[in-house]
């Protein structure tokens, strides 16, 4: 097996495919860089010229409005040219393979691909097959990873909590199907969070997840006790179709975040959610819109974090 495919031999970031395998120092560097961009987004002229003349292709093999939009805004604030492609509705249905599609786009002098795909590992596959000057950013692959989401979550936590080394963080919900949860777990453990908990029914907790360095709880009240950060996961509607869960009502009863349950966490605990939320399924409105919620700031920070990642990958060095 070769080394981490997202680092250059010198240990610099070449692609952003997953949080796993990235040293803490690179994560901190991304967060610090993002910090410098937060002020940019507050300015009247919101643009910096770091990626002027660069072409960034948003390759979305799976529909997404929100993530694609934040990547687009981030790229434009860096002065890059952005091309959006919803491939779910074009070439793939005509039988072109993933790698053919990518090869064709690479031939149009792309500098960066921002990729979302329903299959775990799709971004790794693309990264293995692009030329050395092209950078790949994983914007979500199957159940595997969503590294920029995890990074913006880390940015948010650092913004509100200062440091990672004394925190107790609880991740609640459908961990099994969640690329967000996997990336969050790696980011939190890499940044030195001493206790990461996952909370959910046994049907939604993946096998041997404790090997990723987390404590597993099936009782939400127990899992939330004394938590500093509560990270809720989205529950997809289709999870109700099979035998994973009996109903949305029962899920909310056992694993939905209510003000009452949140009171078990530390009084200054923050509540996060990657969006889009299912109010009344995984979280009640009073909490989502409450004083402890940092869900909207997460979205704002997401742009700065994506600017940081893209500028570190494709910006002029120095």
């Amino acid at each position: 097996m070769t080394g981490n495919p997202q680092l250059t031999p010198e240990g610099r970031l070449r692609h952003l495919l997953s949080i796993e395998g990235l040293p803490a120092q690179i994560l901190v560097q991304i967060l610090d860089t993002a910090g410098s961009f937060v002020s940019v987004t507050d300015r009247e002229v919101k643009k910096v010229p770091l990626l002027r003349g660069r072409s960034i292709f948003n390759l979305f093999f799976e529909p997404s409005t929100r993530t694609r939009t934040t990547f687009e805004i981030a790229a434009k604030r860096l002065s890059a040219d952005v091309i959006n492609l919803n491939i779910a509705t074009s070439s793939q249905t005509k039988g072109e393979t993933l790698l053919d599609t990518v090869a064709n786009l690479a031939a149009m002098n792309a500098d960066m691909f921002v990729v979302r795909h329903s299959q775990s590992g799709a971004a790794h596959l693309i990264a293995r097959h692009v030329g050395p000057h092209i950078h790949v950013v994983n914007a979500g692959d199957g159940r595997h990873a969503h590294p920029t989401q995890a990074l913006l979550d880390m940015f948010t936590i650092r913004h509100y909590k200062g440091e990672f080394s004394r925190l107790r963080v609880a991740i609640v919900g459908d961990v099994l199907h969640s690329r967000v949860a996997r990336s969050e777990i790696h980011a939190l453990t890499t940044l030195g969070v001493p206790e990461v908990r996952v909370i959910g029914p046994r049907t939604l907790i993946p096998a041997q997840v404790e090997r990723l360095g987390v404590r597993v709880f099936h009782d939400m009240s127990e899992g939330l006790r004394e938590a500093d950060v509560v990270m809720m996961l989205r529950l997809q509607n289709e999870r109700m179709d099979g035998a994973l869960l009996p109903s949305a009502q029962e899920y909310f009863r056992c694993y939905g975040l209510t003000a009452e349950k949140l009171a078990l966490a530390r009084p200054d605990a923050i509540v996060m959610h990657p969006g889009p939320m299912n109010r009344g399924v995984e979280i009640e409105s009073a909490v989502a819109d409450g004083a402890q919620s940092v869900i909207l700031p997460q979205v704002t920070f997401g742009i700065a974090v994506r600017m940081a990642v893209m500028s570190m990958l494709a910006g002029k060095q120095g």
């Binding site: 097996m1 393979t97 090997r211």
Partner: protein, 417 residues
Amino acid sequence: MKLLIRNGTLIDPLASSQQRGDLAVADGHIVGVGAAPDGFTAEQTIDATGLHVCPGLVDLCARVAGSEGEARAAAVGGVTSVVCPPDTDPPLDEPGLVERLAASARIHGGPRVYPLGALTQGLKGERLSEMAELHAAGCVGFGQGDTPLRDHRVLQRALQYAATFDLSVWLRPQDRSLAAGGVAHDGEVATRLGLPGIPVSAETVALASILILARETGARVHLCRLSSAEGVAMVRAAKREGLRISCDVSAAHVHLTEMDIGFFDSRCNLVPPLRAVRDRDALRAGIVDGTIDAVCSDHIALAEDAKEMPFGESVPGASAVELLLSLVVKFARDASLELPAVLAAVTARPAAMAGLPAGTLRAGEPADVCVFDAGAWWRVDGTALQSSGKSTPFQGVELPARVRHTLVSGRVVHCAS
């Protein structure tokens, strides 16, 4: 035609012995082991000094029939007898198809081909195939390939019917519903990579059903491609009980685990999935104690782009028939086992299990022979394989043992010059 293989280390796995000596072949048969018979004059001589001479390999699962290139790949791998699974296109459910396959194998002149018939028509799992007739056409057993039955009643009937004629039924234990959607062992690596998992219970639930019905019907059952420690334990107990069962494992599973998937290496997308280290170790122990009768290649030649996809969309399987001997010799070295005992798992044991006239070096037997250099190490390079399938999870790995000569019925079908 008289041929003498001189001065090699002769291995007879059946007798678990090795001795230095000559092997004499005349008219397609072995006529002298250790020394040539009196008055034997060789027309052709192979110098086997420093080499091992063993029976040609018996591979219980390799999709090599019907293709000259794949037949050559088998010869390069020292394989002289091959059992072909029935999941060809179309499936082997008619005598005509079986005869055509056998005929094309004869034309290609590679290894002997022993087809498995489809257990059910079209492998659909609904109606039984004409087993008696297919057996008469040359099928050595009946199976479902990689399409497990979903209906226990059909399985029960198929076993009953096969038992009527004492035909063996070859089944890969996999419960369809438990395996549905999965692409990797439901363990640490699948969790880390976000790959949908196939739990061990997909194997053991199916295995329990098969064992119960085998006990009830008295059918002879061969279990294909075990993958889990629990599965090995169940087979061990069933054999102790006296059920007429046998089983095999693929050579890849003797060496690899889920960890080898690394960053989504689709070359490691195999069926059954590569499992945990403890499973791999249990499979190895099963070979050593005889619970597992045979090691097969599970060879399939896939088109090049079959693996150039995200892991979960890539086509499972690997090019393996040319690696079988090396992987078995490597296992012997890793586990500090005697070569004859380990080679039995690719010669005498599978031959006895499938009732094939192969797997031993004895005077009077057909001269199917493999001459190899156990000390020759080589680096696996998929593109250099004879097979049209270039994908192997062992890409770049250094392996011992290279085949120098392969004989089928005394005819040299492979000679590495």
